[in-house]
Symmetry: C2
Subunit: 203 residues, 2 copies
């Protein structure tokens, strides 16, 4: 006998449990929730997922997720076209947008170089970044990649690819988080925070 | 500007975040996961959910979730038709089935009496339970409801409804969990455990 008294329930639980972070117990809870709600809720959920999967594009310029060939940031005339921020993932675009501290354009690499996971430079949008640098004019490129070994490797790789770029290249600063006490910061972060100290009058 | 650079993504996140226990961050992670996988995965997920919502029935006898008019337990000739276990929810059927300690039939109430949440006896399958007792023959009815005030209220209500029932009516025992130390058991549970003590030779 199957685990549940319904093959349809079993299938729904199996499919939900394929999602990351959703175990079989959670999947069952979600399935039973949908069974308890109006049929329309299941329909609007499945429609939204199918529409998203079938209609979303990547912006042809910055590779951010978009509903048209140019994303809403690339086609916004009020963004500063002289600043470019290179990120690994579209979630990073969201995170930076939430800070309201950057008004330039983005370039989404689609990941970082990770030999262990089999991600080579050719799997990322690094070639289109190099092309963009030739065609568009930027005063500064900010590399905002994760503060991991893979992020640092990618930083270094991109830095070399952009060696003919005439403008400024910077990376985001690493250090203790705002609100953190020194006591609880890990030693590497605290070390970086001291190494990258900033003259007091810049604060 | 919307939170995300895509209305389709926004819709998908909104719909996923309506599910219980799924916040907007988790919803975004799930949506981006589906975007990163083959289109077929999104399609099999949405098909499974729609099929489940459109095709699942409640067993006409026990109200357990079923793919046909009679659920797989009710239509299994090897189940003991003289024993009936009354539970609140179909998840309780799953939980009891996993113990392999009950081989009779079930009756799923669809909840417990809960005046604060507005659940009255008429909202539950108590009337069909009373009807079943008249038509079918049971030697024993086990009330396996949650060990909460609402569960106890429902126990008592059902017990009165079944006052003309000739067989045995029992409820599941409450006590400390197997493997528990007394030290960490709450005092009410430990008190019940002492009150409902069992002669040693029955172990």
């Amino acid at each position: 006998m199957a685990e549940y008294s319904s093959v349809f329930l079993e299938n729904a639980v199996n499919e939900l449990a394929r999602l990351p972070g959703i175990g079989r117990k959670t999947a069952l809870r979600l399935a039973l929730h949908l069974l308890g709600e109006e049929r329309a809720q299941t329909e609007s959920l499945t429609n939204a997922l199918l529409q998203m999967r079938n209609q979303i594009l990547l912006c042809e310029r910055c590779h951010n997720i978009s509903d048209s060939k140019r994303c809403s940031i690339c086609s916004n005339p009020r963004r500063d076209e002289n600043m470019l921020c290179v990120v690994a993932d579209m979630r990073d675009v969201l995170a930076i947008e939430r800070t309201s501290s950057f008004n330039g354009l983005y370039h989404v690499l689609g990941g970082v170089i990770d030999p262990i996971e089999g991600v080579s430079p050719n799997d990322l949008y690094i070639h289109t970044l190099v092309e963009r640098i030739k065609k568009e004019h930027f005063n500064e490129i900010i590399l905002a990649l994760p503060a991991t070994i893979e992020g640092d490797t990618t930083n270094f790789y991109i830095f070399r690819q952009l060696r003919h770029f005439g403008g400024k290249i910077s990376t985001i600063s690493k250090g203790i988080a705002v609100g953190d006490t020194l006591e609880y910061a890990d030693e590497i972060t605290l070390g970086r925070s001291i190494m990258n100290r900033i003259p007091f009058d810049k604060h």
